[in-house]
């Protein structure tokens, strides 16, 4: 390896507390895990209501069965999301005590609002799950609506806290402590609306393509029933309809970041030095302050930022050296951004392919193996977009935890061996993930073998019929 590559891989600066890297890795891992569950809370519950509504309005039994099963999947995922969300709130205190101690008055209260939404969601999830066959049909449908709405509200509150860290406002700081807070300005900070909209649309895209992918796999395995077709269409059409709006929002955000968070933009576009006629680099990394191994498209970054090749983009060299992101951090941000854009372009192609199949040869929708194969990857692609988008915004803020106010290394705890904790957390989360997948798979196989009533779910009532709990099922 070249010395430059070695320098790129080096561990953090000696001045950083030993806890900084494991704390960041742990936060990234647990947040990255939790965020997978968000789209299902927000969007799968919406799809469930869409199917439920259709089932009631048109007497469509397939749609009703979909709603019933999706509600059970949503319950399992909600249980996992509730657990991982609780862990995150512990981590905010244990890993980042100085963030909460100094700025808890500002960054903390959106979580109180989130708690309110979460409460509502937890209660109505239970009511809705309980309500199957026990409540009057339309009253039951309406008991599911608060689940979906509350999950949107909860996501908004968490995004308010996160976007405040990107563009803090509404606080008066004196002598390192917050002496005044203007709550409305904290919550609806400069980055809030775009970030929230971006995440909301992402939730529909991820959950939609995921759901469609599940039924695409089913159809590839020969289960080409109207039930599978209906499940596929609800997910795919929702995701594909949201996709164009997400492109517009994403493009707007890029220019917003260019104007409001120049340091992040410099990392995203991998711009070492301030200048005009900045090329858009596809791939590539920053080594010793120069861009390597990338494919530059001349002037494109300048054009995208300001609609003209002469637009000046602030480079990483304009950031004071002590708060400049490292080459490695800038490269991670840039590559994550490229993955996000690249994967979303593949999703657009997939949506266009669907449109062509739908208009020209609709009867082959459930039999076109190449299309179904492509569609079954949509969920993974969308998830890659979601994760890499979060890496872009979170790593892109470094070395700040609250831009301009608090450095990440000053916020981290200085006690304990966090590598051990990180290892334990990874093991436990892997076990939880394996458990959740195992439960979902066993639910699926029981649905196929024994019909819908054979599955018990968290929050749900006791099953009345046989087989009794604890009995071995072949």
């Amino acid at each position: 390896m070249t010395p430059a590559a070695l320098a790129w891989l080096r561990l953090p600066a000696a001045a950083d507390p030993a806890q900084l890297l494991p704390a960041r890795e742990q936060m990234a891992f647990t947040l990255g895990f939790h965020i997978i569950l968000v789209p299902f809370g927000v969007a799968l519950t919406t799809f469930m209501l869409v199917a439920h509504h259709r089932g009631l309005r048109r007497g469509d039994t397939d749609a009703l069965l979909l709603a019933r099963r999706w509600s059970k999947v949503a319950a399992v995922l909600f249980a996992v999301g509730a657990i991982t969300g609780t862990v995150l709130s512990f981590e905010l205190g244990v890993l980042w005590p100085r963030l909460m101690g100094r700025y808890g008055a500002a960054v903390g209260f959106p979580f109180a609002i989130e708690g309110l939404f979460f409460f509502t969601e937890a209660i109505f999830v239970a009511i809705y799950i309980y309500g199957w066959d026990r409540m009057r049909p339309w009253a039951h449908f309406w008991s599911g609506v608060p689940v979906s709405l509350a999950s949107v509200g909860g996501a908004a509150a968490v995004i308010a806290a996160n976007s405040w860290m990107n563009q803090p406002g509404g606080v008066t700081v004196r002598g390192g402590t917050v002496v005044d807070v203007r709550p409305a300005q904290v919550f609806f900070n400069g980055a809030f609306w775009l970030e929230f909209l971006h995440m909301l649309l992402a939730a529909y895209i991820v959950a939609g393509f995921f759901v469609a992918g599940v039924y695409a796999v089913g159809m590839l395995r020969g289960r080409r029933t109207p039930y599978h077709r209906r499940g596929f269409l609800i997910g795919f059409v929702a995701a594909a309809c949201v996709l164009p709006f997400q492109m517009i929002v994403g493009d707007t955000i890029a220019r917003h970041v260019f104007a409001q968070e120049p340091a992040k933009f410099a990392a995203v576009e991998l711009v070492p030095a301030t200048g005009s006629h900045v090329p858009e680099t596809l791939g590539g990394v920053l080594l010793d302050g120069t861009v390597r191994y990338g494919l530059p498209v001349p002037d494109l970054a300048s054009v995208l930022a300001g609609f003209s090749p002469s637009t000046t983009i602030q480079g990483l060299n304009a950031i004071p050296a002590d708060v400049r992101p490292t080459d490695r951090e800038a490269s991670i941000v840039h590559l994550a951004f490229d993955v996000m854009v690249g994967a979303s372009l593949l999703l657009v192609l997939l949506a266009l392919w669907f449109l062509w199949v739908w208009w020209r040869r609709r009867d082959t929708l459930t039999t076109d193996r190449w299309f179904l194969r492509a569609a079954s990857t949509g969920g993974i692609l969308a998830l890659a977009c979601l994760e890499s988008g979060w890496v872009t915004t979170e790593v892109g803020r470094q070395p700040w935890i609250v831009v301009g106010l608090l450095l990440t290394r000053d916020a981290v705890t200085t006690r304990g061996d966090l590598w051990f904790l990180l290892g334990a957390v990874v093991l436990v989360y892997l076990a939880v993930a394996a458990g959740a997948l195992g439960v979902l798979r066993s639910m699926k196989s029981r649905w196929e073998l024994h019909g819908d009533q054979s599955v018990e779910v968290p929050y749900g009532p006791e099953r009345r019929g046989e087989p009794e709990a604890g009995r071995r099922v072949p």
Binding site: G101, F119, D180, V457
Partner: protein
């Protein structure tokens, strides 16, 4: 204003102790229910009573955490930098417990149910112990204002152990009384004697440990001891009376009012702690006012708490009624597969 927020925080703590505590206690009895065959009946009752309200009960913890970190940020930071070990153990317990409970419910095979059930039950003891130990560290003044206190000695000490053991026992007592009433109502009361005996045992154990605790507190947390004997004395007396009344009801095989009496005495004890601790948030060295966030934040918290009362309480009541009395209605006859 800080006092108002502190009151709301304490309402959350009481609610979590009563509702979350009963859940943890149910896990405790699940743990002691014996092998798969012998323990099947009690475990089914635990499952059936917990299932609908389980998540809602645990959101009280989140409520307490957010009020603490938004309302009293320096106290929260001092707490987390000192007590990170019991906090992470409690979090581990919450993960295993939640996952175990949810997955056990959804899995059919006995070996799988055993693994998930064990995770659920073991962590039901671990988590309340840790929370009790954290409370012990707080009241005995072992969390310094600047944080970074002794990571081990702060919670492994006489008051910490007392807090932990008492928390586990109180949870077990609450759960056993709730389950006694539940068992009386369901299945022709077959499990009623089972849980009645356990309620009495747990109630007696709680009483004995509380008596021993008097001496521990006198030696280890003198200020709390003093205030419990003066300012909070009416609450302590009422709680003791409630405990005795609960035992009397159990011995006299009465079910009516049992839950209210048991929950009431636990709530009174928790309130007694709060009254004795006032006006300090940490030991005797950081007052609520000193630790409080700016007023604007506190007003938001009060608004959220009031909104919670308006929105949440009716829906919780609805859910408890639906789940408790089965008033959503019995399933129609053709409901079996």
């Amino acid at each position: 204003m800080p006092d108002v927020v502190a009151v709301f925080l304490f309402i959350g703590i009481v609610a979590y102790a009563l509702l979350g505590g009963a859940d943890f206690g149910a896990g405790f009895w699940d743990l002691l229910a014996g092998g798969a065959r012998r323990g099947r009946e009690p475990r089914r009752l635990v499952d059936a009573s917990l299932a609908p309200v389980w998540e809602a009960n645990h959101t009280w913890l989140i409520y307490c955490l957010v009020i603490l970190w938004s309302g009293f940020p320096p106290a929260f930071a001092a707490l987390t930098t000192t007590l990170y070990i019991p906090l992470m153990l409690a979090a581990l317990g919450i993960v295993l417990r939640g996952a175990g409970f949810a997955f056990r419910k959804a899995s059919l095979r006995t070996p799988q149910q055993r693994v998930y059930g064990a995770a659920f039950a073991l962590s039901s003891v671990l988590t309340p112990y840790c929370f009790g130990a954290i409370a012990g560290a707080l009241v005995s003044g072992r969390v310094p204002v600047q944080g970074d206190g002794d990571p081990v000695g702060s919670w492994i000490n006489p008051t910490g152990v007392l807090g932990g053991v008492l928390a586990v026992l109180v949870c077990a007592y609450l759960a056993a009384t709730y389950l006694t009433v539940e068992a009386h109502r369901r299945d022709g009361g077959r499990l009623y004697p089972y849980f009645r005996v356990r309620s009495i045992a747990a109630g007696l154990a709680t009483g004995v440990v509380s008596l021993a605790g008097i001496f521990v507190l006198r030696a280890d947390a003198p200020r709390l001891f003093h205030n419990l004997g003066h300012r909070a004395l009416p609450l302590v007396v009422l709680a003791t009376a409630g405990g005795l009344l609960g035992l009397a009801l159990l011995l006299g095989r009465r079910v009516r009012g049992l839950r209210v009496v048991a929950a009431g005495s636990v709530a009174l004890i928790v309130c007694g702690w709060g009254v004795s601790q006032y006006p300090y948030v940490l030991g005797t060295h950081l007052t609520l006012t000193e630790a409080a966030a700016p007023d604007a934040t506190l007003r938001v918290l009060v608004a959220v708490a009031c909104l919670a009362a308006v929105v949440i309480v009716p829906s919780v009541v609805l859910l408890f009624r639906l789940a408790g009395r089965g008033s959503i209605g019995e399933p129609p006859p053709g409901d079996t597969p």
